[in-house]
Symmetry: C2
Subunit: 339 residues, 2 copies
């Protein structure tokens, strides 16, 4: 029976689509399995360990422009975005699968570069490529990466564990990647600061050691990686944890390069930091009263502090932004893959 | 350093490409891991069980034509081709991931159909959808499916275990799917036989119970599923096992529908059976002297016999075909995704 109104995805958005399609599947999941809706699926295995699985699809002209990214950087980034999801669960990456659809005219040099970049990302993380699929693509390049990892049972950090009063924390600077992308699309790189921001966009570091370390602290409650921008990502934690959040915009950690480039190019670095994505640092919530000692220990371990950027609030308060204590309104929102 | 000659994939082919790219990764695999080159990657886990992982990428206009396959059949088949890889290892499928790239203009009705077909395939196999990725696609529909399964340690069946003298066996009829595809592309379905062949093409059954059952017999040596056609797939077993093979063409199991349609449409059903793909039955080798008792037990369990179609030979003999005991030459070859 065909419905009489045409419906498409535009009105639903990516997250609405996932919620709608996922419902019948989530209802039938066996106990002990965390399915759709977190950085990774969590699967039961041994008594002591859980399996983590994550996947990302990258399509040419949607996620990257072939002429604007070297094959080395693309190979690197294809793997790193998935490693970052394992980091977000406090896990250790172990195995990877790569499916790649290759258009006519792609040369072996390009593929050699891609695999060089992949190895650059794989080596420090210890992840092994164990399988995949290759095919010709009648359109552009298509890449699908899967990473399988493990985490000590009970240490996996979910998006659903935030509680009102928790401190909202990030493990790295925000906005560099988005600013780098804008400069890249503009096509006019003016100085070393701008080259640095592009580098951050192409060569993000997955916070694997940070994630594993944070995973071992019970005071760390919810955790995820910053892929769509904190404005969007924080909403995922809010939905899954049934809470609201307040963010103090002046506390968002900005790099000196971002601040200088923003001044010269006349854009708002704070807005870029909040709504820009692909930072691939971690966004977490910490139990009230535990942040200072956690941040001090983090500094000793990693040589830089954690940044407290706000507080988890009651659900009814929604997501609110403050500048010097005053509520402010925010124009742009994080990236939705269907808009 | 850029090389001075342009090289592309046309001359290398899919299997050459995989072999070339996989080499540096295979060299660095830890002990106990079977990587690229089999139906699934085999990963170590508990003492008693191994993890199996497989993935397949389907791209519109390469693997399917949107107007020629219903969303229900596409959803069904996307999962089944991966379940078949688990069957080929003697394993049990458990979890699945689905990445899907969706072009503008795809309606929710289409997606509802796709997920209905997915569930039709998932339900009898017990596999759970636990994650994935959704994104807009600027080109056609892109689907990437991953299935994770398990197998009792020591029961996993690899492509590398065939030995000269083994009987070559298939668990189902060959050629129906390819004939169905040809009729579909011709666009002119003449009778119920032809509709039945198209149905086999769109709704293949993964041989999961057969695979698990065969996996428990030590006399079953190498095993894989028939995805590219036995002419191509048998070469994979030959490469991995370092052997040759002889196939008796008159022993290939053909359906009555295929024989009738071939007669009316004037094509050679035996060639279709050998070079056509997507049968998704199992291709295995059985230790000499063990076939008759295995086939009798298989018949009791599944209500149909196994088909012995030839013998594994020494490597130097390559792949040879016989008709009534006489060597014959063969024009077409199995499907290579880069040609």
């Amino acid at each position: 029976m065909k419905r009489d109104t045409k419906r498409d995805l535009a009105g639903l958005g990516e997250f609405g689509f996932i919620a709608r399609m996922a419902r019948p599947f989530l209802q039938s999941l066996p106990a002990g399995v965390e399915g759709i809706g977190d950085d990774c699926a969590v699967l039961p295995w041994t008594k002591r360990e859980r399996l983590l699985v994550t996947t990302d699809m990258l399509i040419e002209d949607r996620h990257f422009i072939r002429k604007r990214i070297s094959p080395v950087d693309l190979g690197y980034k294809s793997l790193v975005v998935n490693l970052s999801d394992i980091a977000a669960m406090g896990g250790r990456p172990r195995w990877a699968l790569l499916s790649i659809g290759i258009p006519a005219g792609i040369e072996l040099d390009w593929l050699d570069g891609f695999f060089k970049g992949w190895r650059d990302a794989a080596k420090p993380s210890g992840v092994c490529l164990v399988g995949g699929d290759t095919t010709k693509s009648p359109g552009g390049i298509v890449i699908n990466v899967v990473v399988i990892g493990t985490v000590r049972a009970g240490r996996e950090k979910l998006r659903s564990a935030a509680r009102p009063g928790d401190v909202i924390v990030v493990t790295g600077r925000l906005g560099d990647s988005r600013a780098g992308l804008c400069i890249l699309l503009g096509g006019d790189v003016r100085d070393r600061d701008e080259a640095r921001l592009i580098r951050v966009h192409h060569r993000p570091s997955p916070h694997l050691e940070e994630g594993k370390w944070l995973g071992s602290y019970p005071s760390v409650r919810a955790m995820m990686d910053v892929s769509d921008g904190i404005d969007s990502d924080l909403r995922r934690i809010m939905e899954r944890s049934n809470v609201g959040a307040g963010v103090d915009l002046e506390k968002l950690p900005l790099s000196p390069a971002l601040v200088r480039v923003a001044r010269r190019r006349c854009f708002d670095p704070i807005e870029t930091a909040a709504a820009g994505g692909e930072d691939y640092c971690l966004l977490l919530t910490v139990a009230p009263g535990k942040f200072d000692s956690l941040s001090a220990a983090f500094s000793r371990r990693f040589g830089r502090p954690l940044a407290a950027i706000g507080t988890i609030r009651r659900k009814s308060e929604g997501l609110r932004y403050f500048l010097a204590g005053r509520p402010v309104r925010f124009k742009s929102r994080g990236f939705d893959h269907f808009k």
